[in-house]
């Protein structure tokens, strides 16, 4: 009798679970939108507002905005491998090189004529196709805390070489403030290398790299510079355990002066302290050329070419690409819109934009690893630079690892 009761209880619970399962399904058409954003991000709020407006105008359509955890990339890799591609997905700078074979080309959409040509190098292929709607045009430099630099008597505009930078960092350190905040826990070493590398190689050497021939000396120079900052103790003491959030907090509270990160870092830091004055300056070049900015695709969204709701997803993108919507979305991340017919509020970064970007004289270089290194090299960039910062490896040892992985991965991808 007792065992029958147990069996009945088990059956009831399973039936309840199955009922709950079926109740989760909704009627009408639902677009799965993998945002890649945390659930309370400012851009997420902007997407929620835009989605509500779209749903109100299109009865029966539901935009399912899915927030991401920190393993978004791994999640997407698994889903692509399984053939379960979301209707709309964040391409985080890889719409062309990684995701294009899974995405629908969008160059014939009504908004395509307003696609910012600055993004062409990163997002458009030789056939003139591009595969994502760019919310913003990512332009990044060396992030600084103006209050800290002012305190130690440094004008950020005077930093045009790495010697200038090191001198400024030494003054910052003498004032008891961390000169360089890097997130060792969140691949901060890779970002540091990604920022320095475009200025370490000449155009000819970059051509060699793109052809699959690794050029040693520039990367050695890069790692030597990284090591010299370690020897001068310019990195944050908690480098190994620091997350991006810790870097944002340090910048916002005036506990750090410089960071090598995309501008979303500024947006995060101002959430912690709305009164902080942050900006970015062009990245000095190791070769002695002019300082440069780094830019390209970041917040961009592609559509599954095999999705059942492709036409509806295209219609939703058309809605997002309207000047008012595109401007609001770009304002949420404090970036320049990806559409030339939209305008945005740049917030804390307006001054830097006016000074370095508006007139177009500062060269804009692409993210180094995406263009000049084979797929899979990001991890090597992170671990090799990290090993130099933490003193686990000399630059020569780290260089050997980079060179070896470059050859191996280039061979695999070609």
């Amino acid at each position: 009798m007792k065992s029958r009761s147990v069996l009945f209880a088990v059956g009831t619970v399973i039936a309840l679970a199955a009922t709950g399962c079926s109740s989760a399904a909704s009627e009408g058409t639902t677009l799965e939108f993998q945002t890649g954003l945390s659930i309370d991000a400012q851009l997420m709020a902007a997407f929620e507002e835009a989605s509500s407006d779209y749903e109100a105008a299109n009865q029966g359509v539901t935009i399912d905005l899915i927030p991401a955890g920190t393993n978004y990339e791994a999640d997407m890799k698994v889903r692509l491998a399984a053939g379960n591609v979301p209707d709309i997905l964040w391409t985080h700078g890889w719409s062309l090189l990684r995701y294009s074979e899974f995405l629908a080309p969008l160059q014939d959409e009504p908004w395509a004529e307003h696609f910012n040509p600055v993004l062409s190098d990163a997002m458009v292929n030789d056939a003139g196709e591009f595969f994502a709607f760019p919310v913003d045009t990512d332009v990044a430099g060396l992030i600084y805390n103006a209050d800290v630099l002012d305190q130690v008597g440094v004008d950020p505009a005077d930093i045009v070489t790495w010697d200038d930078f090191t001198d400024a960092a030494t003054l910052v350190k003498a004032a008891g403030i961390v000169p360089i905040a890097a997130a060792g826990k969140d691949s901060g070493a890779g970002q540091l290398a990604d920022w320095l590398a475009p200025g370490a190689y000449t155009d000819d050497e970059l051509t060699e790299l793109a052809a699959g021939r690794f050029v040693d000396q520039p990367y050695q120079d890069l790692l030597d510079l990284v090591e010299s900052w370690k020897d001068q103790e310019l990195y944050n003491p908690d480098y190994s355990s620091a997350s991006e959030d810790d870097v944002a907090r340090a910048l916002s509270s005036g506990d750090a002066a410089f960071a090598f990160n995309p501008n979303s870092m500024v947006s995060n830091a101002t959430q912690y302290n709305p009164d902080v004055t942050l900006g970015y300056l062009p990245v000095p070049s190791i070769t002695g050329d002019d300082p440069y900015l780094i830019g390209g695709e970041y917040n961009a969204y592609g559509l599954s070419k095999t999705g059942d709701n492709l036409e509806l997803a295209k219609d939703f993108l058309n809605f997002l690409a309207q000047p008012a919507q595109a401007g609001a979305l770009a304002s949420a991340v404090g970036s320049i819109p990806g559409m030339t017919n939209a305008t945005s509020e740049l917030g804390a970064l307006q001054d830097s934009y006016d000074r370095y970007v508006a007139d177009g004289t500062v060269p804009l270089k692409p993210y180094f690893d995406r263009v000049y290194l084979p797929n899979g090299m990001w991890n090597t960039m992170v671990t090799s630079t990290d090993s130099v910062i933490t003193g686990q490896s000399a630059p020569s040892g780290a260089l050997t690892q980079v060179k070896s992985d470059f050859s191996s991965l280039f061979g695999q991808s070609n």
Binding site: S3, A9, C21, Q34, A41, Y72, D75, V78, S253, P262
Partner: protein, 276 residues
């Protein structure tokens, strides 16, 4: 054998236990201070909220993070998975424990071998299969995965425990005319309580806390369990530690309450089999 301890030894023991308790409670303390501060409060996480308690993080955990729904989801997934693991584990173990044929020994070894396979190593084929079965973002999909991954250990425990039981009781039941199923349900099952408690606790705790597979299989906020839900406060671009801490604390409450009421069974279950 219990040895009487001297006063210095008792003090030393108490100090050691106190240190362990403090270490265990530290993460909770940091979570509490973090969850009660505004984002703009940049004071040390070790300090309590000196500028007044801020409950906005808890509101965010409930409204943005949908944490209450996630707790319910976790309860459903954990409850059903644990019951199935115990029930199916015991049933599968019975013939393996009582019919020592070559085939059964081989099956037992095979099940034992399954324990050695790291679940993440089969992620892509598993996810592909679940996609084809339309089991992604469903309760039954994640329950099937949880049951499959926990069954081998459960069968191993039940088999070992059943072999230690005297077979004469079952033989007596057979002589009295009981079928194999009747013997199992009416004679064997009632004496499996100690090992069932162990299996239930191991499966329940592991499923409640599961993140590695759930984060891939459950992406829909309506179906997400607790761990992936809390992770949604973190992304490559930004994170909200205050709301994540608040969500974690809310998620701990049901387990804490359950533990307070069921402490006796938890301890019994954990030490079952360690005494003769």
């Amino acid at each position: 054998m219990i040895t009487k301890l001297g006063r210095p030894a008792k003090i030393l023991l108490a100090a050691g236990l106190l240190a362990i308790v403090v270490l265990q409670l530290l993460p909770f303390y940091v979570s509490i201070t973090t969850s009660l501060k505004e984002r703009t409060d940049l004071s040390s996480t070790w300090l309590p909220p000196l500028d007044g308690v801020f409950l906005g993080n808890f509101m965010s955990a409930i409204t943005d993070g949908n944490i209450l729904q996630s707790i319910l989801n976790s309860a459903i997934v954990t409850g059903v998975s644990t019951i199935l693991v115990c029930f199916l584990g015991a049933m599968a173990a019975y013939p393996l424990a009582r019919r020592l044929t070559t085939m059964n020994k081989a099956v037992g070894a095979l099940i034992l071998a399954l324990i050695m396979i790291p679940p993440l190593s089969i992620l892509v084929p598993l996810y592909t299969m679940l996609t084809q079965m339309q089991a992604v973002n469903t309760y039954w999909g994640i329950i099937a995965v949880m049951v499959s991954t926990h069954l081998p250990l459960s069968i191993f425990f039940y088999t070992a425990f059943m072999r230690s039981l005297p077979i004469s009781v079952e033989e007596a039941a057979t002589v009295d005319g009981a079928s194999a199923f009747q013997t199992f349900f009416l004679v064997v099952l009632p004496v499996l309580k100690p090992v069932t408690a162990t299996v239930a606790i191991l499966t329940g705790v592991s499923t409640w806390n599961e993140y590695a597979l759930s984060s891939f299989i459950l992406t829909d906020p309506a179906i997400r369990t607790i761990a992936p839900s809390i992770a949604s406060f973190f992304s490559a671009q930004s994170s909200n530690l205050g709301a994540a801490s608040a969500a974690s604390l809310l998620a701990v409450l049901p387990v804490l309450i359950a533990y307070l009421f069921l402490q006796r069974y938890f301890i019994k279950g954990m030490v079952a089999g360690s005494e003769k």
